[in-house]
């Protein structure tokens, strides 16, 4: 990080002391000034997820995506190169692409007809000889994200020319992150177009939740326990031994549920697990996947994953799947959720359809789990926006599992990186997220030793 610290907005002055106590100023979920700074200090500088290579397999395939609130076109150009092009004509700014997906050799601007190749190069300007004779076409390509990376099929972009590499950004978190995407040799495949829907909550609500909010499941998702499609092992009360909370892992966090002495392997059936091999993973990573009922995490800022097995009916067997999320900011009080369902590429078509069905039935706008998350989250945003919260400098409580709150101490002999607790009765992952957030917002380092 550069030396110069950014000015701290008034509503989060003293936030380091709050974080040290496990408290969080409500204003971060509401304040317009904070939000505007997030777009500039976080979304314009961090690695942001824009799509998966299996969404655009052929040359010319494109999808429209956002970085912060800015519109981009993610396209595979004629050379096969992945480009993240700003969806704005270099002439006078009209949108060159007005659909959500398709295939194009290039784009012709609907305003005055400037024509671009799908690599972004400007190749034609109408009436050029009469009016733009001296225009150097090379200088007027579409703006593009300076850094684009394809990491195990995941495409991330970074708008900051000075950004550190994606690998460096991922840091030690790679150890857990790779497990989600490298279990099968062919990697994971996106099954269909994303769900997109609007929720009246701040984007951080979803992002922090996936960092390890294990204590919400037994309450928020109690109806699904009642309906009998998930066992208490996967969604019940936090317990010593069944849950692992891993936080302070290069600024990111992950939560894992396991069945002691069993190998549920994310509820993938044998017809899928026979395609799963360590490959680029080491044996410890592979064994952890085997022991896992589920794994969920957030790569800061707004990319989350949940690797889990569920069913759409208690009468049917569970099926493993991976859901990917983008918590798209849409103003301080609103986000758009993007959801993709994935399965290992080697799985049969039949299994993929089943995995999709199960993924959709649990985590999507109609998902039996997700419906209830988004029913609860808007309340937080509303509370954060109260005059009462502002006048009384209300802080929310994120102290669960912290210091004297818990007798459980981090594991000393854990095989992977990060600070690891063998109980999931804690909010250490969420604290990690907000520490990283504060660091990014202020361009400072927060040294807080967090014994979850």
């Amino acid at each position: 990080m550069a030396e110069e610290a950014f000015a701290v907005p008034a509503s989060i002055e003293g936030m380091v002391d709050d974080l040290r106590q496990g408290l969080l100023p409500a204003a971060i979920f509401h304040d317009r000034e904070i939000y505007e700074l997030e777009l500039r200090r976080i979304f314009a500088k961090c690695w942001v997820y824009v799509g998966h290579e299996t969404e655009i397999p052929n040359r010319g395939d494109f999808v429209t995506r956002n970085i912060g609130e800015d519109p981009f076109v993610l396209i595979r150009d004629e050379e096969g190169e992945l480009r993240v092009l700003l969806n704005a004509c270099r002439h006078r700014g009209a949108q060159i692409c007005r659909v959500q997906a398709g295939n194009a050799k290039g784009f012709v601007c609907p305003f005055h007809g400037w024509a671009y190749r799908n690599s972004g190069e400007l190749i034609g300007v109408p009436a050029r000889n009469q009016g733009y004779a001296a225009l150097n076409l090379e200088d007027w390509s579409l703006f593009a994200a300076p850094h684009v990376v394809n990491y195990m099929g995941l495409i991330f972009a970074n708008l900051d020319r000075e950004a550190v590499s994606f690998e460096e950004y991922l840091g030690d978190y790679k150890w857990y992150f790779d497990i989600q995407f490298a279990l099968s040799e062919g990697g994971m495949e996106v099954l269909g177009e994303p769900h997109r829907w609007l929720v009246a909550a701040n984007w951080k609500q979803g992002a922090e939740n996936f960092c390890g909010d294990s204590s919400h499941t037994q309450m928020t998702h109690r109806s699904v326990l009642d309906a009998g499609i998930i066992e208490t092992a996967a969604a019940g009360a936090p317990k010593e031994g069944t849950g692992l909370h891993i936080h302070d892992c290069s600024g990111h966090a992950i939560s894992i549920r396991q069945l002691p002495g069993e190998a549920p392997f994310i509820s993938y059936p044998e017809e899928v697990t026979r395609h799963l091999h360590p490959g680029v993973l080491n044996q410890d990573q592979f064994d952890l996947a085997k022991r896992s009922l589920l794994q969920n995490g957030t790569l800061f800022p707004n990319f989350s994953f949940l690797h889990i097995g569920l069913s759409d009916s208690p009468q049917k067997p569970q099926a493993g799947f991976l859901t990917l999320r983008v918590w798209q900011p849409k103003g301080p009080g609103q986000m758009e959720i993007w959801n993709w369902v994935l399965a290992p590429k080697e799985a049969s078509l039949e299994y993929k359809q089943r995995a999709y069905q199960v993924g959709m039935s649990s985590f999507s706008p109609s998902g039996s789990f997700e419906q209830d998350d988004v029913a609860v989250w808007p309340g937080v945003t509303r509370s954060a926006g109260t005059v009462f919260a502002e006048l009384n400098k209300v802080r929310f409580n994120y102290q669960m599992g912290m210091g004297d709150m818990s007798s459980s101490k981090p594991l000393a002999d854990w095989v992977g990186p990060g600070v690891v607790n063998s109980t999931n009765a804690g909010e250490g992952g969420l604290r990690t997220f907000h520490k990283t957030w504060y660091e990014r917002m202020t361009n400072t380092k927060v040294e807080i030793c967090d014994h979850d």
């Binding site: 099954l191 829907w197 009642d226 759409d312």
Partner: protein
């Protein structure tokens, strides 16, 4: 991608309309269904479903006009069978189903019902209808409005009729509702 016409659940070519009694029976069936759902009589509503039901609502995306309808064949908001709908109905009975407690107050408007013979199965009719659902939640003053066209296959029987297949094509590409916790 799917062509909207092929979604017509095996509908016979246009013009092969069926007699008015059958048209009337279909309309009454769809109105009864809407009433059960608006009144939250889910057990009664579930009785209207055939055990072999296929119930789908695909995702759609905005595409160029020459690039198909944008209706997905692989992504869905709902892709249900009898057992999965039963689970959804069962979940709604839990007092902890926060998305529907307090319940969404819905008002379904079903119109433009067009009924034809079903091509594949003589025991079925194909009904195409427009649907608008006004959804009021909590103390919000304004409804979220969901519109869709539905392509149904219905078995009209004496006394009991059953929904055998439904494909509901939502008009939205981004849902304005925070969740799709209602049946469409």
């Amino acid at each position: 991608m799917t062509d909207a016409a092929t979604l017509h659940a095996g509908a016979a070519p246009a013009g092969r309309l069926i007699d008015m009694d059958m048209q009337r029976a279909c309309e009454e069936f769809l109105k009864q269904e809407a009433e059960y759902l608006d009144d939250r009589l889910f057990a009664e509503w579930f009785e209207l479903l055939d055990p072999a039901i296929i119930y789908e609502a695909p995702v759609r995306t905005a595409r160029e006009n020459w690039d198909g309808t944008g209706i997905s064949t692989t992504a869905f908001y709902l892709k249900e069978d009898y057992a999965s709908i039963e689970m959804r109905v069962k979940r709604l009975r839990s007092r902890y189903a926060w998305s529907e407690s307090p319940a969404t107050r819905t008002r379904r408007i079903v119109s433009n019902v067009r009924v034809t013979l079903h091509d594949g199965d003589p025991s079925l009719v194909a009904a195409r209808s427009n649907l608008a659902v006004f959804c009021h939640r909590g103390d919000g003053a304004h409804p979220q409005i969901l519109t869709a066209e539905r392509f149904d296959a219905i078995r009209i029987g004496t006394g009991v009729s059953r929904l055998v297949k439904r494909t509901a094509i939502l008009d939205a590409t981004v849902l304005g509702l925070e969740s799709l916790s209602i049946f469409i």
